[in-house]
Amino acid sequence: MSETTGQPFRLPEGGRIHRDEPLRFRFDDAEYTGFRGDTLASALLAGGVHRTGTSVRLGRPRGIFAAGSEEPNAVHQIEEPFPEPMLTATTVELYDGLVARSLPGRGRLADRPDPARYDARHAHCDLLVVGAGPAGLAAAATAARAGARVILADEQPELGGSLLAGRELPGWTREIGEELDAAPEVRVLRRTTVFGHYDDNYLLAVERRTNHLGAHAPAHLSRERIWRIRARHVILATGAHERSLAFAGNDRPGVMLAGAARTYAVRYAVVPGRRAVVLTTNDSAYAAALDLAAAGLEIAAVVDTRPQPGTWAQRAEQAGIEVLPGHAVVGTRGDTHVTSVTVAGYAEGRLTSSARQFTADLLLVSGGWNPVLQLYSQAGGRLRFDDALGCFVPDGCRQAVEAVGSANGTFGLGRCLAEGTAAAARAIAADPIPLPSFTDEPSSPAIQVFVVPGTDADGDGDHTHFVDLQRDVTVADLDRATGAGLGSVEHLKRYTTAGTAHDQGKTSGVLTSGVAAHLMGARIAELGTTTFRPPYTPVSFAALAGRDRGALHDPVRVTPLHDWHAAHGAVFENVGQWKRPWYYPQDGESMDAAVQRECRAAREGVAFMDASTLGKIDVQGPDAATFLDRLYTNMMSTLKTGMIRYGVMCRADGMVFDDGTVARIAEDRFLATTTTGNAAAVLEWMEEWLQTEWPELRVHLTSVTEQWATVALAGPLSRELLAGLAPRLAVDAESFPFMAWRDTKVAGIPARVCRISFSGELAYEINVLGWHAPALWDALYAAGRPLGLTPYGTETMHVLRAEKGYPIVGQDTDGTVTPQDLGMGWVVSKKKPDYMGKRSHARAESRRPDRKHLVGLLPDDPAVVLPEGTQLVAGSRLPEPPVPMLGHITSSYRSAALGRGFALGLVRGGRDRMGERLYAPVGGELVPVTVASPVLYDPEGARRDG
C-alpha cells in the first residue's frame, strides 16, 4: 500500500514534505492524510479538495486561491485541538489530529478560555531583515559576516522564501541558513511574521512557536510570542504577491494563482488538478506552466494577453504546450469547480475573436506581481506606481528602511541576491559578500491588464468579474461606486468594502485600483493605493495580551493589612490598582445589612478601617509653604507646626482636581494626603509646576504612600480605646484638639496620630510605618473587642461621609465643578494674591447663580434608594423631549442614622431650591425627591469632639 493512499493528487516523489511522517486530519467531517511539511491547504489539495468555503455575501463556492498569507478564500475554523477562528489554510502547518471546518466567510470565537501560554520579548539589533528569501538571506549574511547584531525573521518554518518553490540554489540556501544559525550575534526567527512597522524602526512580530505541534505542544512553552524589536536599520525582503485579473467567473474553485500552483507542485509535491489553462499578462506564469507540465499536469493552453510573448513562449511551445498570444479568458464553467474555460482573442481592452472552450479543471492566472510593501508603507514610506513594471514600488522613506528584491520591484534571482547584499553593506557600512553567480533569464515586458470584458453570451454584465474575493466585490460594484461619483481609492474602499476583509486586500488591492482607474479613464498612478495599517496579517488578541492576563493584567496593590481583611471575610473593591475592603459581611449578611451594622458601630460605638491607600506626599524645603500656597485654594503657610488643614486643589481652569489634608511637620516640611485614585496624578501635577514654572522654589517632593500605613478609628468610644493603648498621649479635646497631630506610641509602636474625621464622629487616624501595621491593627482589635470595635469598609466610609455632605472628588465632581459649586467657598482664600484657579473663579461664568450646586436629596418615600447617575427634572409629568435636565444624583445610600434613603446630587441653582420638589425618572416612573442641605447628619458638628 502506498503512503499516498487517499492523496490522489500527491506526486510520487519530490517536494519538501516528510513522507515518513504521515499525519491524519479532518476537514468538514471527512478524514484525510497529509505529511509533515504540508500546510492544511496543500494537504487538502493532495486529497482533491479545492472548495474550502462559501463566499460571505453571495454564497458562491470558493476554493484555495494562493499558497501563502495572501490567501483570500481558504479561511477556516480550527476546531481541534483548540478552537480558533479564521485561520488561512495556506499558513496552517499540518499536524496530526487537526480538525478544521470551512466557513461561510465568518468565524466563531472560542467558547472557553485559551489554556495556552503567550509571552513577549524585547530585542534590539543593528539590522532587522524581514523575509528569508534570496535577497533577505544575502542581506542577513552580509551583516552577519561583518559582526553586526542581526535579526532575520521569516513567516515560513524554513528559510528560503521563493527558493522553496523553485529549483534554484538548494545548496546555497542551506549553507547560508546554517551559517546564520551558528553566528553568535544573529537571531533567526522562523515562523515569525513581522506585522507592524512603527516610528523609529520599532517593529512588532509574532512567532508561532508550538502551533505546528497541535495537541503535542509542550505546555511549558509559550504558544506564540510577540517580539518587540527596535532596529537601527531595517531591510524589507518581503517578496511579492501575485495578483489576479477581473474576468467573468474568475472566482470558481479551480481558479488559482499560477505561482501558487507552482509552489504546490514543487514544494509540496501536489498537483492542484489534471488539466490546466494558464492565463497570464507576463512571463512568470510560463515557469509555473513548465514546472507543472514536468510534474505530469496537462497544460491545455497558455493564454497570454500579450500579442508577442517572447522567449518564454517559445520554450513553452518547445515543451509541447499550446500558447495563445493576444488572447484572454472570458469565462469559466462549473458548478462547484471549474470544468471548462472559455478563451477569446484579446487586444487593448477588446475581444477580437469568437470564443473557444477548453475542458480543464484548473485555471491558473497571473495578472502580475505586487511587491509586498505593507510594512514599508506603515513605516511612512511613499509608494509610486511604476508603469513599466505594472506595480507600486518604494519611493523613499524617512526611516532607515530599505526594500530589496521583489519587494523593491526587482524580479530575477541574480539581481535580488545582489540587491540584498548591497543594501546590507550600505546599512552597516560593510562590504558586500560573494554570491553564487546566477544569470537571470531575459524577460519580455508585461502588459497591464486589469479587466477582460465579458462576452455577450454570459449576459451577467460584470457581476461575476470579481475583484475582492473575500468581500465579494465585483467590477459591477466598483462601476456603481465610481458612477456615484466616488473618485478616491479610500472612498471606493469604504463604499464597496474592497480590501477591508481578513486578507486586507493582499491580492485585490492593486487590482481594485487598476479596475477603478480603468472605469474612470484615469491612470492608476494618479489614483494611488489605500493606506496600509498594521497588522500585516491577523494577530490573536491572546498573543498581544501575552502574560498580561488575569491577575497579571494590571498590578494589584494591597496594603500591609490585606491578609487580615481577607481572613476576616472582607469583600474587596478595586480603587485604581488597590484592593480595598468594601464591607465585611458576617454570617451570610447581605451587603446592605453589613453596611448598616458597620455604620451603626461608627456612629454609636467604635469602628476602624484601613486607610493606608490614601496618597501621601512628603513636601520638604525652605519654600514648601509658598509652594503649597500656590497650589491649594486655601492658605497653608499660616498652618502651625503640629496642626492639620483640609485643602482643595484646582486646575488652572478653576475646577476641583483633588482634596486632602496637609499636616505641618516642621517649618519646612509638610505631609500632604491625596485621594486614593489620584495620588500619582497629584504628585505629577506638583512636579510639573515645580519644574516648569517655579524652578526657583527650593522644594522636594517624595511619595510616601506605601511607607506609611494608616488606620482610621472612628466613633464616640474611639478616645477611650486610643487612651488605653497610648498612655503617653493626652487625648482630651483641649490637649489634642481637632485637626492636630501628635507623635506618640500606640501599643508600643511609634505612631503619628491625627485628629481627622471623615465621618463627623470623634475620630483619629493612626499612622505607623507599613511593616508595623499588622501589629497595630491586632492590638487595636484585641483591645477594642470588648468595646465592640467593628472593622468597616469603603462603602460604610462613603455612607458616613455622605451623611455629612463631604464630597468625593471624582464621584460628586466631574471636572466641571468649582469649590464654590460644592458649597466650599470657605476653603477658597480671599487673601492670597493668586492660587491655582483663582483667575478662573473670578470669571463671570464661575459666578453665575444658576451653576450646579452640590445638595442633599431626600426621596419622599424613605425606603427608596435612587440609582446613582439618575437625572433630575422639574415637573411631575415629563414634557416632550428634549426634557430640561436640572442635574443628576452623584451619591446615593441608605442611612442607618437617618433611617432612610438619601442622596447627594449636582442641581442647577441647587442652593436656592431648598425644600423644592424635583423628580427623578427611574424605570419609567418619576420618583419625587426634596432638595435639602447636603449636611444631613449632625449639622451643628457637635459629635466630632466626642
Binding site: E684, E687, E688, Q691, R839, R843
Partner: protein, 101 residues
C-alpha cells in the same frame, strides 16, 4: 512607538513618557489683570502646526524630569530635545545630527 532621547537618561521608549502639550506657554505674570478673553487664551488656546512644534514631555517612568522637545508633527520625527530652562530650539539645530548617538 517613538524612541525619545531624554536629556537626562538617554533614548527610551515613548511608553515611559507623558506628553505635556505645547512648550513655552508661561503662566501669566499677573492673572488677575487679564481680561477673560486673554485668560481663556492662556488656558485653552494652543498652536497646532503642521511641522516643527516645541512641546513638553515628562520622563514619568524614568527620572520624572520635564523637558522640551521639537517634534515635526507631519512626520512624527523628533528634531531636538533640551532641558527645561535651556534656550528654545527651533529643531533646525538637530538636522543631520543623530539624536541617539
Amino acid at each position: 512607538m517613538l524612541l525619545i532621547p531624554c536629556p537626562w537618561c538617554g533614548p527610551r521608549d515613548e511608553a515611559e513618557y507623558t506628553y505635556g502639550g505645547q512648550a513655552h506657554v508661561p503662566y501669566p505674570q499677573d492673572p488677575a489683570s487679564l481680561p477673560d478673553e486673554e485668560w481663556g487664551r492662556y488656558l485653552f488656546h494652543r498652536a497646532n502646526p503642521k511641522g516643527p512644534h516645541a512641546e513638553r514631555w515628562c520622563h514619568t517612568a524614568g527620572c520624572r524630569r520635564w523637558f522640551n522637545a521639537v517634534r515635526d508633527t507631519a512626520t512624527n520625527q523628533l528634531l531636538a530635545v533640551y532641558r527645561a530652562g535651556e534656550p528654545r530650539l527651533a529643531g533646525g539645530e538637530a538636522n543631520g545630527r543623530d539624536l541617539f548617538a
